[in-house]
Symmetry: C2
Subunit: 340 residues, 2 copies
């Protein structure tokens, strides 16, 4: 079976994708620099799949290490590139870190892939490229907006670099997957999200509050022009998201792609407000969540959810798990991590 | 006098700027990798100014060499960053080369500048960021258009990286100078443009044709909606352009800048058509140019020229030399280079 490199394969989405790849029979090699993950995630992957992926601790910023990796693993057929810095707020304060981590490393990887006889490349992009879209749901042809943060900008630039490269490298095919809001954990509770420090995202903040690590969840604004006044996002179960990567990879490896470079939204197609997510959590967990409505947070867009038709029609993929499934798995994971 | 680092200081615009900096009394250190320039340019600079700048042959893609440079020259007060790949056509065929050369190196430089107690940074940007502007002349507030080439994209991205960095690094101030079309050579004929291979730009192609190296100049399209049907650009004498860098640097060093990051157009404000440039050449040289009208070239915009008011009002700078001055100097330089 084909050997697939997964960069950032010990991270949240990366680890779930490694599980799905191994279950589909692929041989997986993980590169991770452990800057925002732990080697223990390998144990979780092994517990679920019965197989330990190859793991190489490499910092993709070190060009010579990347070159050496591809000399050693010269039969890699595809790369799923998760490794990147991903905190919007941090990116504002440390822009150079983001441009180096997210752009420099992508260029090094693509330079190596260019040398291979054939290569399939999947890129972790984000719905952040759309900003506040003029029309909802958001289709892949919606205009890319001026990025609000260096993080968002690196996703836009990353897509442009891949697009420009695919135009002139006939042996390279790529898909950029624009994630909406990934949440949840593997049903086995062997792997899940492991935020370092204060969580940047809603769901880990909810579960950490419920378990007693955070005192209170702040809900930023209830006066937005939405049904309940809170912001709306498209929360997608990470296991659904992970499966989409396998489908996208299969599309490239079997030459079913219609162009050398394609983009797909990965979302449920359904928007949920912050309060709906809180309610779902309370419903599935039986816990009462301590939250408080506070003022709006700068830079938050009002509403974003995916038009999922392209992924359905072209990839033959759609989400199967519900918001309740995701909240329950996130809660079980939080309890397991905290030994409760 | 302050020590100024000029990257790409042996290139076309770089070398002319080094001359102006030395004549203004600055101590200049040049970094150049000689990939598109020659060490002999140092002789030309010395002949004009009576002073040889310090020269370090460094490839800015080598992060450790950049770090070592700043350890050695720890009293650099300002950086003028010319070093970059600049051929639009090549960038389409070799996008990764452009993203690495033009973006990666910029990030390394800024990371070093962040460590200095204070730093002034001048960035070589381009009118290409405007694409085909909706209004002429083009002001600095005209919207930046989706780039037509990886080269153009690296200039846009470069500006964004600097903007994002200046927002959070209070010791760093920067100006992006958006060049229109630099032409001509130093009046001394000691330095000038030295294109490698077939010239990508109009004026060196004209002078090489006149001197007998190229058979014929192709004028791409005479059916554009312009007075004579050929494309219009804003050709600026490289000596005027070089002087603008000294003025911009002075603005930053003396804290006259109004924001941490600013952009300025550098142009004459006057558009000239391809045929007007050909006519100017014939007029000042007394030579008849062999040229032929051929079909339009893909990707050429119709017309672009600068609104120069911001540079006039804020920098107190405007061009002094004419199109004829520039064409005559370019012709004298071509004759000297060819030993005629």
């Amino acid at each position: 079976m084909d050997k697939i490199l997964v960069t950032g394969g010990l991270g949240f989405i990366g680890s779930h994708t490694v599980v799905e790849l191994q279950e589909a029979g692929y041989e997986v090699v993980i590169i991770d620099d452990l800057s925002n993950s732990s080697e223990k995630v390998l144990d979780g992957i092994t517990a679920i799949t019965g197989k330990t992926p190859i793991f190489e601790k490499i910092d993709l910023k070190e060009k010579t290490d990347v070159e050496a990796f591809f000399k050693k693993h010269n039969n890699v057929k595809g790369v799923i590139h998760f490794a990147a810095s991903k905190a919007v707020g941090e990116s504002v304060n440390e822009p150079l870190l983001y441009y180096e981590n997210n752009i420099g490393t992508l260029v090094y990887l693509l330079k190596e892939l260019k040398k291979l006889p054939e290569a399939s490349f999947i890129f972790s992009s984000s719905c952040t490229v759309y900003g506040q879209a003029d029309e909802l749901p958001i289709t892949e042809s919606a205009p890319v907006k001026q990025a609000e943060s260096p993080y968002g900008n690196t996703k836009q630039i990353g897509e442009e670099i891949i697009r420009d490269t695919c135009k002139v490298v006939p042996t390279l095919k790529a898909i950029a997957l624009r994630y909406f809001n990934p949440i949840g954990a593997h049903a086995s509770t062997e792997i899940g999200e492991l935020p370092i420090g204060v969580p940047q995202n809603l769901v880990p903040f909810i579960t950490q509050t419920a378990i007693g690590i955070r005192e209170q969840l702040s809900v930023f604004g209830d006066d937005y022009p939405t049904p309940d006044g809170t912001c709306i996002r498209d929360y997608i179960h990470v296991v659904d998201l992970a499966k989409a990567h396998v489908v996208a990879l299969e599309r490239l490896l079997s030459n079913k792609n219609k162009a050398a470079y394609e983009t797909f939204n990965l979302g449920t197609g359904k928007g949920s407000s912050v309060l709906e997510v809180v309610n779902a959590f309370e419903r599935v967990s039986g816990e009462k969540l301590n939250y408080k409505i506070v003022g709006r947070r700068e830079g938050d867009i009002i509403s974003a959810y995916a038009d999922t038709n392209k992924a359905k029609n072209e990839l033959g993929w759609e989400t199967k798990l519900s918001l309740d499934d995701a909240m329950l798995s996130a809660w079980k994971w939080e309890q397991k991590v905290r030994g409760k």
